[in-house]
């Protein structure tokens, strides 16, 4: 198992903030909007440096999505910022009609996704957002795994024409992706070469997949691990190449098993190469209050759960 280290634990939302700040300096067409969550989204530096390119819309997410769509008419590249829950479910029809169907170049940037939002509880812990967004024709869906990858993704999506859903989170997590790693939309990142089982993870679960890979190595199991930061379009070639070697797969994500990465992988396999698969994901449930670590343990979204799923899927080969 390839060795991964990190220098610090830091939140992925700060990676977004850093990426947005850099875009403010390099791309004059980038504008930002926020619905009363500037601090949570780490947008302060962008605002300080580009006050004329920032729009505070207040607690009015539907209006924010519409204004963002309108700003594209005139060549602007709007980045909207609020929690994942309010970036998707609350404004689904606005995104569907004014952005996706209208093919507007809006970047929907969503923080505090999933259970790791923590103590605020289930009203804010959306576990359905990947599904909502990936079902929209033309929408690109990205869920990076750490600070460096989120920063790189933020910068990369400004160069991509079309609507993008960028999902990131609140807790401090290991920052292990090399700062100079190029972010390619739709391209999986190979974490480890292995032969016995494929582990496909996205977002916060990528680090857990690395930990699982280390544990499995101790047991003599060789895991082929993919970091799928782009859920749509999905890197089917990377998935099929891996599964051709291993013959079984575990997917891992901080999302409901319905509508998430696992379902997209399952479809790819069903069509091309039916393969035993286990899903590390929430089991069609809402979350609850608790610390991020407690919640990830309780809902089975950690390295132990991945190891368990690998043990199970290996028996189905």
């Amino acid at each position: 198992m390839k060795k991964y280290t990190y220098t610090e634990k830091i939140d992925t939302r700060s990676g977004f903030g850093a990426g947005l700040t850099e875009l403010g300096r390099t791309n004059p067409n980038v504008v930002a909007l926020c619905a009363d969550l500037v601090g949570s989204l780490k947008m302060a530096d962008f605002i300080k440096e580009n006050p004329e390119r920032f729009f505070q819309v207040g607690i009015a997410e539907a209006n924010m999505m519409g204004i963002a769509a309108g700003l594209t008419i005139g060549g602007k590249i709007p980045f909207t910022g609020t929690f994942a829950n309010f970036s998707t479910g609350r404004v689904y029809d606005q995104i569907r009609q004014s952005i996706a169907y209208s093919d507007k170049n809006v970047k929907i940037c969503a923080s505090h996704a999933g259970l790791t939002l923590g103590e605020d509880g289930a009203t804010h812990q959306i576990l359905e957002d990947i599904g909502l967004m990936k079902m929209l024709p033309g929408m690109t869906v990205i869920n990076p795994c750490d600070f460096n990858q989120t920063k790189a993704a933020t910068i990369a999506i400004a160069e991509h024409h079309g609507p993008v859903y960028l999902r990131f989170g609140r807790p401090a997590v290991p920052n292990f992706t090399p700062a100079d790693q190029k972010f390619e939309i739709g391209k999986a990142v190979k974490i480890n070469d292995g032969t016995d089982v494929t582990i496909i993870a996205t977002g916060h679960l990528v680090w857990e997949a690395i930990l699982a890979g280390e544990e499995l190595a101790k047991q003599g199991i060789s895991a082929d691990i993919l970091d799928i930061h782009t859920i749509k379009p999905l890197d089917e070639d990377a998935i099929l190449a891996s599964v051709a070697k291993t013959g079984c797969v575990v997917t891992a994500e901080e999302h409901n098993y319905l509508g998430g990465l696992g379902e997209s992988v399952a479809r790819t396999l069903a069509v091309n190469n039916p393969t035993p698969q286990e899903f590390v994901a929430t089991q069609d449930t809402f979350g609850e209050s608790g610390t991020p670590a407690q919640l990830m343990d309780k809902y089975g979204l950690n390295s132990e759960a991945i190891v368990k799923a690998v043990t199970k899927v290996l028996k189905r080969k």
Partner: protein, 281 residues
């Protein structure tokens, strides 16, 4: 600029187009389309500074956004007769493989359309965004939008109304088609909205009324007046008093023709009241 007779001829021809289009596919929304005919004719032929070689970004020209997308027949007819796309394409309205979808969309690449609309209440937000882009681009042109009165029941409008005034989006003229009708009946019966003028004013808009929304000269004068009020720190609202179904006597003033097509006999009656002027599509 076309003279009054030419504009009157155009208005009559657009009404013919509307009823013929909805009759052809036995679906669509003639009532609001007929009521807003003078508004569209005035806007696209007298008021807006536009380029008919369509470019999505619309730099250096006035832009229009239709929020109540169901009145697409009048929008399509006026766009076609202004030169955005061939008039004969009106005969594809609502048919398979057409650029003229039931509700307007950018998806099929129809020139003149800058955002999809149909799901109500979204257009003012989009218009505000376009107005903000104009300001960022130092493009001294105006954004126009049109909304149904019933459409104001959608809450997103009030987010947008609050934002536009609070942020001095003063290059925006939003017109409300005040016909008092919606699908289920009169707006006052379905969901009374109270005093809209007072409401817009309370939110901080500069509000004016066009009492004769189906009188072409009154509409032109009103829109010119509205344009003169832009750039003064407030968004401008026009309350446009119209009669749903105007120009076809049996469709006038009732919600019954909001979303219903005439049969063959009714079509003949409607066309007899609006004789051909510029040539049917």
């Amino acid at each position: 600029m076309p003279d009054t007779q030419q504009l009157n001829n155009l208005t009559t021809q657009v009404r013919r187009d509307i009823v013929r289009m909805v009759h052809n596919v036995n679906s669509g929304h003639p009532g609001g389309s007929l009521g807003c005919t003078e508004f569209f004719v005035a806007l696209y032929n007298e008021i807006m500074d536009i380029k008919t070689d369509f470019n999505m970004d619309g730099i250096g020209e006035d832009l229009f956004f239709l929020s109540n997308g169901h009145i697409s027949p009048v929008f399509y007819s006026v766009l076609a007769r202004r030169g955005y796309f061939p008039v004969k394409e009106l005969n594809t309205f609502r048919l398979i493989d057409s650029r003229l979808q039931g509700h307007p969309t950018t998806h099929e690449g129809l020139p003149g359309i800058r955002v999809a609309s149909g799901s109500l209440g979204q257009g003012m937000s989009v218009a505000i965004g376009a107005a903000l882009a104009k300001k960022l681009n130092k493009d001294n042109h105006t954004i126009f939008s049109l909304h149904g009165d019933g459409e104001l029941q959608e809450g997103q409008n009030w987010e947008a109304i609050m934002y536009a005034a609070g942020n001095k989006v003063d290059n925006l003229i939003s017109t409300i088609d005040l016909n008092g009708q919606q699908i289920d009946g009169a707006t006052k019966d379905v969901l009374p909205m109270g005093d809209l003028k007072a409401k817009f004013e309370a939110f901080g808009w500069d509000v004016m009324e066009i009492e004769k929304g189906n009188d072409l000269e009154a509409v032109i004068a009103g829109l010119k007046e509205a344009k003169s009020r832009t750039g003064k720190g407030k968004p401008v609202c026009i309350l446009l008093h119209t009669i749903m179904g105007h120009g076809v006597d049996f469709m006038m003033g009732t919600h019954a023709w909001h979303g219903k097509a005439p049969n063959d006999e009714q079509l003949e009656k409607a066309l007899a009241q609006n004789p051909e002027t510029l040539g049917d599509y």
